[in-house]
């Protein structure tokens, strides 16, 4: 018997009752499209998180104090030591202080970030207008400031902020620039901030030499691990206490985000697997009915010379054709569904090729597995009984 005849035979069997065949495949269609859609949501979320974290700046290592500020050992003298490490390109300090920014009658609770000129480069910040703080601002501890995009629009509305004087708590700063919007990172808004020289922050606002965090940029992607080790060694040398500082790697944050979306994808895939299982049982059910209905056909086929394995192949082929066509439809609906989800809920989705391959092979496996028992029953049928059956 030729393989092509096997396919033709299976198609003939299914086309005998097309609507029933369609209903039977429904479980597989839903299962496979659920696999595609859930994985696409997971992949989309993962990619979005990755790009958000990447946007914060690349190759970043963050240093923060291990002790409360009164005992902090992360101070100004650490900064040049870190910048001297071979695999470190540059480092920028960051001192955060919350307060109220006001201009005229507008006031907004915000965060002032005391930092240095290279923050722009390390944290991948873009300017919308004016300039960022310069090295001269840092050295002279000037009263210049740069506003985040949201803060600028909240305070100044239509007005041009450049050159205007803004109050932060009880001190006044002159606006020299406005940063471009960075968008929502999912953790905190980075646009409701104002940047001031860290030296000014220390002298006029905090009154000490502490630095909240230092963002360290490695020389390259490949040197991340080396840079991490070098910074660790330097900090240990400078502070003499491994509990005095905390080091975190951007890759750790990425891994954490990835593991969260992986867990979600796994959970949703579990649901999809259950619906595939239900679909498979549906196929088995209908195939058993089909075998009973077609006892006479099986008897005729056996009488004219069909071997047991040819009958087996015919019915397994039918089940496989059912579930594979369900799988293909499911893939199509999966593409459509993730498109709709992006459109309606504006969730980012990305259909993963692997999930398409997975969906297809799962549907094939389901068909063969759940078709095996009915086919085995058909193959073992006594031809005389089949011919006698009304």
């Amino acid at each position: 018997m030729r393989p092509s005849d096997n396919v033709r035979l299976a198609m003939g069997g299914l086309m005998g009752s097309p609507f029933r065949s369609f209903l039977t495949t429904l479980g597989v269609i839903i299962g496979v499209s659920a696999v595609i859609i859930t994985v696409s949501i997971g992949t989309g979320a993962k990619r979005q998180t990755e790009s958000q974290i990447q946007r914060l700046g690349s190759n970043l290592i963050t240093v923060s104090s291990g002790y409360r500020s009164a005992y902090s050992k992360i101070t100004n003298r650490i900064l040049p030591a870190i910048e001297q490490c071979g695999s470190v390109r540059q480092a920028t300090p960051q001192i955060n202080r919350s307060g109220t920014a006001s201009y005229g009658s507008n006031a907004l609770s915000t965060t002032a970030i005391g930092t240095s000129a290279n923050y722009l480069e390390v944290r991948n910040l873009k300017m919308a207008r004016g300039v960022f703080l310069s090295d001269a601002d840092i050295d002279a501890s000037t009263w210049n400031c740069v506003l985040g995009a949201d803060l600028a629009t909240e305070l100044f509305e239509e007005e041009d902020p450049l050159g205007k004087r803004v109050r932060f708590d009880r001190v006044r700063f002159t606006v020299v620039g406005v940063a471009a919007s960075q968008g929502d990172t999912g953790f905190s808004s980075v646009d409701n901030v104002m940047f001031i020289p860290y030296t000014t922050m220390q002298k006029r606002l905090t009154g000490n030499k502490n630095i909240s965090t230092i963002s360290v940029q490695a020389a390259s992607d490949k040197e991340m691990d080396t840079a991490y080790d070098q910074v660790y060694a330097t900090l240990l040398l400078e502070t003499g206490d491994e509990r005095a500082f905390r080091l975190s790697n951007q890759a750790d944050v990425l891994d954490f985000a990835a593991s969260m979306t992986d867990t979600m994808t796994l959970l949703l895939s579990g649901i999809a697997a259950v619906s595939l299982l239900v679909g498979g049982i549906g196929i088995m059910n209908i195939m058993l009915v089909s075998v009973t209905e077609r006892i006479r056909e099986i008897g005729i086929r056996k009488a004219i010379g069909a071997k047991e394995r040819q009958i087996l192949a015919q019915f397994i082929m039918e089940a496989a054709t059912l579930s594979v066509s369900g799988g293909l439809l499911g893939i199509a609906f999966g593409f459509l569904g993730s498109r709709i989800i992006t459109r309606v809920f504006s969730w980012p989705t990305a259909v993963d090729t692997r999930s398409v391959v997975l969906g297809f092979s799962l549907s094939l496996a389901v068909g063969v597995f759940f078709g095996a028992y009915p086919a085995y029953k058909a193959a073992g049928l006594d031809p005389i009984e089949g011919l006698r059956h009304e």
């Binding site: 005998g16 005729i300 009488a303 010379g305 071997k307």
Partner: protein, 235 residues
């Protein structure tokens, strides 16, 4: 060598969870030569259908030997039996046993599918077989669009499409009126004159009248063989 040789064949059925045993055939011995035209007569329950199933390699005797074309059937595997049914034997049934969803030519070419013949070749062969039974103009009709006599002719075309040496017809005229019955018997007689051995199971004397040799069965025993010892109807 005889085409069919039965030696002391018994067939027992047990029903009612094995408590009741029925002797469907007891100690049947007979030979059929190549090219014979034989009818097997008997009332229902006489064992003629059981004999037919055994001759057609659909069933195996409980004891005794069945030798078909030199092969001892009880020693063959189920795959080998399927091959014999496919190549050596053609079946014609009382209720035609055509697949309703297939047209005439697809029904006829079915045995060739299992023989592994290419689609084009088997279509040609099937159409030739339909022409032989006078249905060359009905190849695309479904069984439901054909009369009983025509359906039975399709079934005969299916039986002869793989050029069998033996055609077994089980009450081939049972569901037909007398005109159609005569038609079918003429077709079978035609097959026989082409050299194919034909065995017809029937309970109608008019049908049995077509065949030179008649075997009569009662209670699983062959009680009369019209040409016992002769063999060879064409001789």
């Amino acid at each position: 060598m005889s085409l069919i040789e039965l030696k002391d064949v018994h067939k027992e059925y047990s029903t009612g969870r094995g408590s009741i045993r029925i002797n469907a055939l007891s100690s049947v011995s007979l030979t059929v030569e190549e090219g014979e035209f034989v009818s097997i007569m008997g009332h229902s329950g006489s064992g003629k259908s059981t004999l037919m199933n055994i001759l057609g390699c659909l069933d195996r005797p409980t004891s005794g030997e069945y030798i078909l074309d030199g092969y001892v059937v009880s020693k063959l595997s189920s795959d080998q039996l399927a091959d014999i049914r496919n190549r050596t034997i053609g079946f014609v049934f009382q209720s035609f046993n055509l697949l309703q969803r297939l047209d005439a030519v697809s029904n006829v070419e079915m045995p060739l599918i299992y023989a592994g013949v290419s689609p084009r070749e088997r279509r040609e062969t099937a159409i030739k077989a339909l022409e032989m039974v006078g249905l060359g103009d009905r190849t695309r009709h479904r069984p439901s669009e054909l009369s009983g006599g025509q359906q039975q002719r399709v079934a005969i075309a299916r039986a002869l499409v793989s050029r069998p040496r033996l055609v077994l017809a089980d009450e081939p005229t049972g569901n037909l009126d007398s005109a159609a019955s005569r038609e079918i018997m003429e077709v079978l007689r035609g097959l026989n004159s082409d050299g194919i051995t034909v065995i017809v199971v029937t309970h109608e004397p008019e049908v049995a009248a077509y065949t030179p040799r008649v075997l009569k069965f009662r209670d699983g025993v062959c009680i009369e063989d019209s040409s016992a010892g002769l063999g060879g109807a064409l001789a």
